[in-house]
């Protein structure tokens, strides 16, 4: 086998790592790769530093790649190692300890250095740039209560630094030389709006302010700054964010052609054919770059060029566009936003909504613009600008966005506007760009494939609409034709959930495998998606005749406990309405002692969780709890979980009704029924709503004259405030309404659909119609609900062990004589 070529990268910033990702995608095995990074930290996304400073992300969350990725590609990483010299003749790099490493190809991604103003006192302790994780660690190193910070520089980074420091508890003053903040990207109008937004966050803004000196506290640390007009601003921390300078020190030392940056051609080649350069240190056709898009484009160009890929394109330098990453301030700027000769401006300004849009036109094409307050259409405008599209026909509606300006407006995909680096899936940390890339590279056409390959939308699923839209956006028109007209339950059937339930109402009671045969399943024993759903549908359709198929249940529902990451289980006894007593508590304590249960925790739903129970102990744990009169709390199931309560009129001086009594009664009435997804209830004794009833699936709030009933709330992944359903005068009316609502949800929602998305799908008027307006229907639902209840404690059911012999016992191996 031919010996691999040696590739050495100097610098482990985002531009280099992205370039490497592109390279490995094109030629995974071609190079033996070694990376030198001067920083001690594993490669991270510098663009996200402001998010770390603003405590929106952790240091780990902005890593560019996990250590395993480097291992997998056999990349040798030298952290905290600065390359001091390069021997271009013998093709060796030298670190500061004179250790040498050979290369066949060298990539310089040395980045840039922050510019530190040459002021008296600039070397004092507490004067920092904002460039690295280490800088942030230093900023946050000491207690901040009452501390004052000055940020010098009102550009993009300076604003982000000021915002982050304010979040971290500093009293922040932003000092800017020019009259307009971000004057490189904003006009005076937008700059003033931005200034207002910063000031409303208690950040003091001084413009036209030139710093002349950093003041000394007499002990080697900064005490503040002095401005040219004589004003002094006290500070314990001074952050200089006045620009960057390409780091060309090494390149100059080894004699590569440099001007402001290292000169590169259209393919990132330097004046030495074995050395390439990219990122902030590179200068292309007289320009250096500081924004992430062109830096990443350089990586792609470079990877294509050195692998001689047929699709390799020369670097063109993406037209720069900027977004401010300060949460709550939406700001976008692109191109020649300040206009120029022969330019005209289209402006929309709504001060009370805080919206400002300006587009700069030249001969009916967009050449620049600023969006403040509403950046939703940014990508569309940018696309029009890049394509130099003639906007003449849509000019009158252009400022109102694609929805107004284009025909077939509602087909415009909002995902187009999302920047590539924006995280779509928070659970698995997948950004739009990588979803797009994977779809294209692997030729994916379905949501399931995207989930499998990228993990986006594969965990909590709350980003599924966005992932679907990205898929549509990437595939264009094709997606619509490829997507099935109805969403089937899974690949085992061509039927939708609704169709399956409809068919079941027309059939006789039957078991799981008969149902699969009757409904034309294309697999013999289904899959992990359809079996639990079908099991629930059959239970709901034939409550008396159908026998629960425990093999189609997730482990938690099979063993009536909650599996934990280490394979142990947690057990939650039911405590009705959250009302307990010394006997129950003693029994729980005894169980915890007896089985050496390591963790006992109060849950969010006012119950007690025993965590870390070994599987074989589960039956004995239940037996002891049963003996003390307690039953399973269904904390593991798609079932009625808990009814949370406040103390109510019995004790509370504000309580107007007996909320605990109502909570206990509701839980007694509703437990023991399987539902499409988990169901949580709460009862508050007065409108102060201490039981947080308005973010529950069913929330009951006491008022002087009765009870208000709310439905469809959710406090989890996607918070949703419950909708008001009806006011009930008596406890009996509360009970009937709640149970009727539960039954409607049981009969009509899709499997794994919480009440919140179900209500959003069918609409609140429908629910009101069925539960409030139709008294006879409500009574019938209530009746059916009571008939389907099975309030036998699952823990005490012998069925658990009878149906699965030895479910809770390991098998034993006995030697078996046999000739092998």
């Amino acid at each position: 086998m031919a010996k691999k070529e040696k590739l050495v990268l100097i610098g482990n910033g985002p531009a280099n790592i992205k370039a490497l990702e592109h390279l490995l995608a094109l030629a995974p095995d071609r190079y033996d790769i070694r990376i030198f990074g001067a920083e001690q930290h594993a490669p991270y996304d510098r663009v996200q530093l402001s998010a770390v400073l603003a405590a929106e992300k952790t240091k780990e969350a902005i890593r560019l790649q996990e250590p395993a990725w480097f291992d997998q590609h056999k990349i040798t990483m030298h952290l905290g190692t600065r390359i001091a010299d390069v021997d271009r003749v013998r093709r060796l790099v030298f670190d500061e300890n004179q250790r040498s490493y050979a290369y066949d190809r060298l990539l310089l991604g040395c980045g840039s250095n922050p510019i530190m103003l040459d002021l008296p006192g600039k070397d004092l302790g507490g004067v920092l740039p904002f460039r690295t994780l280490t800088d942030i660690e230093r900023m946050l190193a000491s207690p901040v209560a009452g501390r004052k910070a000055v940020v010098i520089g009102g550009g993009l980074l300076g604003l982000e630094a000021a915002h982050g420091l304010e979040i971290q508890g500093f009293d922040v003053t932003l000092v800017h030389l020019c009259e307009t903040l971000m004057e490189m990207q904003l006009d005076p109008v937008a700059g003033a709006m931005l200034r207002g937004a910063m000031e409303s966050r208690k950040i003091k803004v001084l413009t036209q302010a030139s710093t002349t000196e950093v003041l000394h506290d007499g002990q080697g640390r900064v005490a503040g700054i002095r401005l040219k007009d004589g004003r002094q601003v006290p500070a314990d921390l001074v952050v200089m964010s006045v620009g960057i300078r390409p780091n060309i020190e090494l390149a100059q030392k080894i004699g590569l052609a440099c001007k402001r940056g290292i000169l590169v051609d259209d393919y990132m080649g330097t004046s030495d054919p074995h050395i390439d350069a990219l990122g902030e240190c590179a200068e292309h056709r007289g320009k250096t770059f500081g924004l992430v898009a062109p830096l990443f484009e350089m990586g792609k160009v470079w990877a294509g060029a050195i692998t001689q890929h047929p699709d390799a394109k020369p670097f063109e330098g993406t037209t720069t566009a900027t977004r401010l990453k300060v949460s709550g301030i939406d700001l976008f700027s692109m191109g020649r936003f300040n206009g120029g000769p022969e330019c005209e401006e289209l402006v929309l300004r709504d001060s009370s909504l805080g919206i400002y849009k300006k587009l700069v036109l030249k001969k009916n094409t967009i050449v620049g613009g600023i969006l403040y307050g509403d950046v939703f259409d940014a990508a569309w405008y940018r696309q029009l600008m890049l394509e130099k599209r003639d906007i003449g026909p849509i000019r009158d509606a252009l400022l109102f966005g694609p929805s107004f300006a284009q025909e077939g407006a509602d087909t415009v995909n909002p995902m187009a506007a999302m920047p590539a680096e924006m995280e779509v899936c928070g659970c698995n940390g997948v950004c739009k760009g990588s979803i797009e890339k994977t779809i294209l590279e692997k030729g994916l056409t379905s949501l399931d494939e995207v989930r499998a390959h990228t993990k986006a939308s594969a965990s909590c699923g709350s980003c599924t609409p966005q992932v679907s839209q990205i898929l549509e956006w990437v595939l264009g028109e094709d997606a619509a034709t490829k997507a099935p007209a109805v969403e089937t339950l899974c690949g085992c059937t061509s039927l939708s959930q609704d169709a399956i339930r409809q068919r079941l109402t027309e059939l006789e009671p039957m078991g799981m495998s008969e149902a699969m045969a009757a409904l034309g399943w294309n697999t013999l024993d289904g899959c992990k998606k359809c079996r639990p759903a079908l099991n629930y549908f059959l239970l709901c359709a034939f409550p008396d005749a159908y026998r629960d198929d425990i093999r189609s249940r997730f482990v938690n529902e099979r063993v009536h406990a909650n599996i934990q990451k280490d394979g142990t289980f947690s057990v939650v006894p039911r405590i009705f309405g959250g009302m307990t007593n010394p006997d129950q508590l003693r029994a729980i304590a005894d169980v915890a002692d007896k089985f050496s249960i390591p963790t006992v925790k109060i849950t969010g739903g006012q119950r007690i969780d025993l965590l870390g129970v070994a599987k074989q102990d589960l039956p004995a744990v239940w037996a002891d709890l049963n003996a003390a009169g307690m039953v399973s709390g269904h904390a593991y199931g798609k079932a009625v979980r808990t009814v949370k309560t406040c103390v109510g009129s019995e004790w509370c001086r504000f309580g107007v009704q007996d909320s605990t009594g109502m909570g206990v009664a509701l839980e007694h009435q509703t437990w023991g029924s399987w539902t499409p997804h988990k169901v949580k209830l709460a009862v508050s004794g007065c409108p102060r709503n201490c039981a947080e009833a308005t973010i529950k699936d069913i929330g009951v709030v006491a008022v002087d004259s009765g009870w208000e009933i709310y439905v469809g709330g959710n406090g989890g992944m996607k918070v949703r405030v419950a909708d008001f359903l009806v006011k009930a005068a008596t406890p009996e009316a509360v009970m009937e309404t709640c149970c009727a609502f539960l039954q409607l949800y049981r009969e009509e929602a899709r499997y794994l659909e919480r009440t919140a998305p179900w209500i959003e799908r069918v609409g609140m008027p429908y629910v009101t119609e069925r539960i409030v307006s139709d008294a006879a229907g409500r009574a019938a639902l209530f009746q059916r609900f009571r008939e389907t209840l099975d309030q036998t404690d699952p823990w005490s059911k012998q069925g658990v062990t009878a149906e699965a012999p030895g479910e809770f016992r390991p098998v034993e191996a006995t030697p078996y004589p046999m000739n092998v």
């Binding site: 697999t523 599996i563 990451k565 012999p805 098998v811 191996a813 078996y816 046999m818 092998v820």
Partner: protein
């Protein structure tokens, strides 16, 4: 050298279910599919170490209960696009008994779970 061990009657293995054999250095999950295929795999998902024996079984695969990754029962490899694999052990049914082949010697003639050095 390999030895065969009996794990008892096939009736004690639920269809679409699994039972666990605990050995000193490894846990083995013995699966029985809906059509009575028998497979023995290390009871540890390559993804995050979840107990495969608690997963849902359909066709020739089991889904780990922790994060849903699928492992093929016959090969022990994770189902595309996930990567990784677990050990597999030969199993068969003789006279209604489930037998497993383990690369170890029994410690004593009464050895039950007392097998070592797997």
């Amino acid at each position: 050298m390999v030895y065969w061990f009996s794990l008892g009657s096939l009736d004690h293995f639920p269809r679409q279910g699994a039972r666990v054999l605990s050995l000193p250095e490894v846990k083995v999950a013995v699966f029985r599919t809906h059509d009575d295929g028998l497979f023995a795999l290390e009871d540890r998902c390559p993804h995050r170490g979840g107990p495969l024996s608690e997963g849902m079984i359909h066709g020739m695969r089991v889904h780990c209960p922790l994060h849903g990754q699928a492992v093929a029962l016959d090969t022990g490899t994770m189902v595309y696009p996930d990567e990784g694999c677990v050990r597999t052990f030969p199993v068969k049914v003789v006279d209604g008994n489930v037998l497993i082949e383990l690369p170890t010697a029994p410690v004593s003639s009464q050895a039950t779970t007392a097998v070592s050095a797997v």
